[in-house]
């Protein structure tokens, strides 16, 4: 019974820590997998794993990189099981078109088309707010490599935004 009471307190603390991050974890999983259903599955499994290991998290301030790492590992497991790329152009187009601003739509499409090695660090920085140092830790890269990828990712997006904007629109039509 006492264990149960302690467990309840832990669950409340978990909910406090995780609650505000759940949506961004989903977004991160979506940008990794490019598949909304896969993203949901990844996040669910990740939250289960996070709960099981929550007692080991001593510092709540480290919850975000800890959770991101769990989601990332779960995505890698997912990818290993999938073996094949599963991006559905129609689904991706729907997600892109959900934005009211056509420029945002175009950028979304361009991000989806980025190689994973560029897409992921950018998502970690822009979406999750991680520093380059944290991204390096999460992805197992040097900080220099992260900076290079971030720079190239932005370059690619800017180029697509300026050069291919209308091309993207024409393709959608």
């Amino acid at each position: 019974m006492k264990a149960g009471i302690l467990n309840l307190g832990l669950r409340r603390r978990y909910e406090q820590v995780v609650g505000g991050l759940r949506q961004d974890l989903y977004r991160y999983a979506l940008w990794l997998s490019r598949d909304p259903q896969a993203a949901e599955d990844i996040v669910q499994e990740s939250l289960l794993r996070a709960w099981r290991g929550f007692e080991s998290l001593e510092d709540a301030d480290k919850a975000k990189p800890w959770l991101v790492t769990i989601v990332r590992r779960e995505f890698l497991r997912f990818k290993e099981r999938q073996r094949e790329e599963t991006m559905d152009p129609e689904v991706v187009a729907q997600i892109a078109e959900d934005a009211a601003d056509p420029r945002v739509q175009e950028l979304r499409t361009a991000i989806f088309r980025l190689e994973e090695s560029y897409r992921e660090p950018l998502a970690l920085q822009v979406l999750m707010g991680h520093s380059t140092d944290e991204i390096a830790g999460i992805m197992g890269l040097t900080q220099g490599a992260v900076l290079t990828r971030l720079h190239r990712a932005r370059d690619k997006l800017k180029q697509a935004f300026v050069e291919d904007g209308m091309a993207v629109q024409a393709e959608k039509e």
Partner: protein, 209 residues
Amino acid sequence: MNRLSQEERRQREAIVGDDAQFEALLENAFRVPAPEKTPAKRPARGHWPTMVAVAATMVLAAGAWFGLRTVEPVQAVSPLGPEIIAHINHEPAALAVSARTVPDAEFGDVLQRGGASVRAPIGRVSYAKLCPFRGQMVAHFVVQGEQGPVTVMLLPDEESSGPSTFDENGFKGTIVPIEGGGSMAVVGQPDEDLEVIRDRLLRAVRWKL
């Protein structure tokens, strides 16, 4: 393939040349719509994501658990509290915010099959179901408190030596004996005045065993 007009291209070059503008667009692009709470695919029972979706339910149920412990210290190891928690945990729909009112006939049917009836108004009932609990089918319903949904379980086979309340860590629950035997679990929001609801229910609920 269409290309940007000169003017459009100049505008876009200006945007990518302005870090603040481009970063704002980029952040908007990354913020795709996300499910607010519960993902579409439900996990297996007992998995944490289910618990996430019904965390509030569990928290409320904990009040009843603690309440029972307070009332009956000699039953400190009673399995009832955890089982109430587990039961409510498995019915997340019960505490979902709902404008639905269970029709009187439907509510009456649940009560009857749970061996009970009400002889006075108890307010809007948003959920009512006959549920298995410790080997018995019991009436489980939700009424509306001042602060939100209040879960009620009528437990004909669970004896309680006296009314008790519990209030700790912001949770509140109570289990009270019912005239004629058995007990009633009432679990609500931390700042809910459970006693008002409890007393109203005690006046209204009768066993029809």
